[in-house]
Assembly symmetry: C2
Homo-oligomer: 306 residues x 2
């Protein structure tokens, strides 16, 4: 019986490449592992897989009756559907510890680093398995993406060290050029439906019993979405109306290192309290906000009281 | 600010020695780490610490306002009180994944092996820190205890490999002799109050909203408790009456490799379903049952429906 290695919903580069890379490691260790993903590739991940010669993994959204290895998440809301009917056999992650529990002991490896790719680099090393050249390439790309070329406050020395080693294996001489190529691909917004932009990199959270969603668009220049703000806001109101207390859309300017935060909420005071801002329009600029995981979610979770 | 390394409630040899050993590793890595425990030493742990020259760690039951590293558990019910007012900074475990969540990314390392000591052996190695001789001794003792000298079905090759390496470092020539010394200490029941015997190695679980407790006495010969059965049963009924749906006491015969299971329950049919037995007296013999973690808890959790 195959073991499916799968990242979170609304897959990003790390979720997709980590599924591919970890399936490769497990195969080298004798496990019949298959990388899958829970949704379509985003433009950045598409570019990365093409560049290093990988086909897109198959899409799998239902975990029922399957053996699963979860990468890049440990929350029920971000895992495949029917998780209670699946058998989770491993979790590898770099986020806060989520609400997934198991009825048997399993391998669970989470580290407070910038990217699952960094954890995987260590797992290859610990298990004494050489990283294939193209696999090193996608792992490198994932770390550069998640750490926004080491600008994100989630970046650790372990991430930089992993990138140095992976770049050598992958034969990538210029990490910055690779990162810029990804950022440009990621910034592609022209002609994309509003809903797809919101859900391109999107997660739902349970905050003290309230469903709270947060999407993020990382842009090399925030003016790229200047013409779309009204339409984005209208669509975000729709997403909010689908049973959520609050929905945020982070319009993150990679170069200016901050986020124009679009807010639709039953009670914006939670957002105001979380980031010490005043919400009096569709968006509010939060200087220095780059990381949903480290800067957007924890203060909001705290404001909601857990 | 110190970081407190702490095992589960009703500490056993693994919980106490893992706190000491991991605090030692963290100190070697520059962290001001202090090993503590949540209750008195049991007879086996007392013998192990004495043999390898360690004082008993201080008792700490309240986590409020403290930085914590949890070892040998990942369940809220087994962690220090006021966990919501503590900051959990790491978890190292070998049990099923529990219900602890965090609001920030942390280091969480669980492995499906027989003992936390085995995971710690790997963490020393990965971090390139030499294991002091006496620390190797208590880690070895913990693995021999948790795996019942490799007889428990929880035993893995990793446990055996770790023991071989640790025995060399600790200068222990005869692992079996060390194990028998521990088992004899563990089997000491004479003159011990019934309540203390039940809680010597005891855990509460949440099974689909029901509080279910399970204690275990590992005995070199089950006849050691022959005279105490009635008194143990009466005391177990008291424990049950303190807000629990079901309480089990495993009277495990290490040599016969099975457990006489004492059952007090609002509805014994869950127990009957879980182990495919008929409960028509205070105890029922379950052949081959050695491990609470692997053989007693998962089937019961399943019988309760989660």
């Amino acid at each position: 019986m195959s073991v499916y290695v799968v990242g979170h919903k609304s897959p990003d580069t790390d979720s997709v490449t980590s599924a591919i890379a970890y399936a490769e490691l497990k195969k080298a260790m004798g496990v019949d592992a298959v990388a899958v993903m829970q949704g379509e590739l985003n433009p950045e991940a598409t570019m990365v897989l093409e560049k290093f010669g990988f086909a897109a993994p198959e899409i799998m959204t239902d975990g029922a009756g399957k053996k699963l290895i979860l990468v890049d998440h440990s929350d029920i809301a971000q895992a495949p559907d029917n998780l209670d009917k699946a058998e989770i056999i491993e979790i590898v992650d770099h986020h806060k510890i989520g609400d997934i529990t198991t009825s048997n002991p399993i391998f669970f490896c989470a580290q407070p680093v910038g990217c699952t790719g960094t954890v995987l680099k260590q797992l290859f090393d610990i298990n004494d398995v050489a990283i294939p050249k193209n696999i090193a390439g996608i792992m490198l790309a994932a770390i550069l993406s998640d750490t926004v070329l080491f600008k994100s406050p989630t970046t650790t020395d372990a991430d930089k060290k992993a990138c140095d080693a992976l770049a050598k294996i992958a034969g990538v001489d210029d990490m910055e050029a690779l990162a810029m190529e990804m950022f440009k691909a990621k910034s592609a917004v022209e002609g994309v439906p509003m809903r797809d932009l919101i859900f391109r990199d999107y997660k739902d959270f349970d905050m003290n019993g309230n469903k709270v969603g947060c999407g993020q668009l990382e842009l090399v220049d925030i003016s790229l979405v200047a013409d779309m703000r009204d339409d984005l806001y209208k669509e975000l109101q729709k997403v909010k109306s689908e049973g959520r207390h609050t929905v945020l859309l982070m319009l993150t300017d990679i170069m200016k290192e901050g986020t124009d935060l679009m807010v639709v909420s039953d009670d914006p005071s939670y957002v105001e309290k979380a980031y010490n801002v005043k919400v009096d329009g569709p968006t509010v600029w939060v200087d220095g906000m780059m990381s949903r995981k480290k800067q957007t979610v924890p203060p909001l979770q705290k404001a909601f009281g857990g």
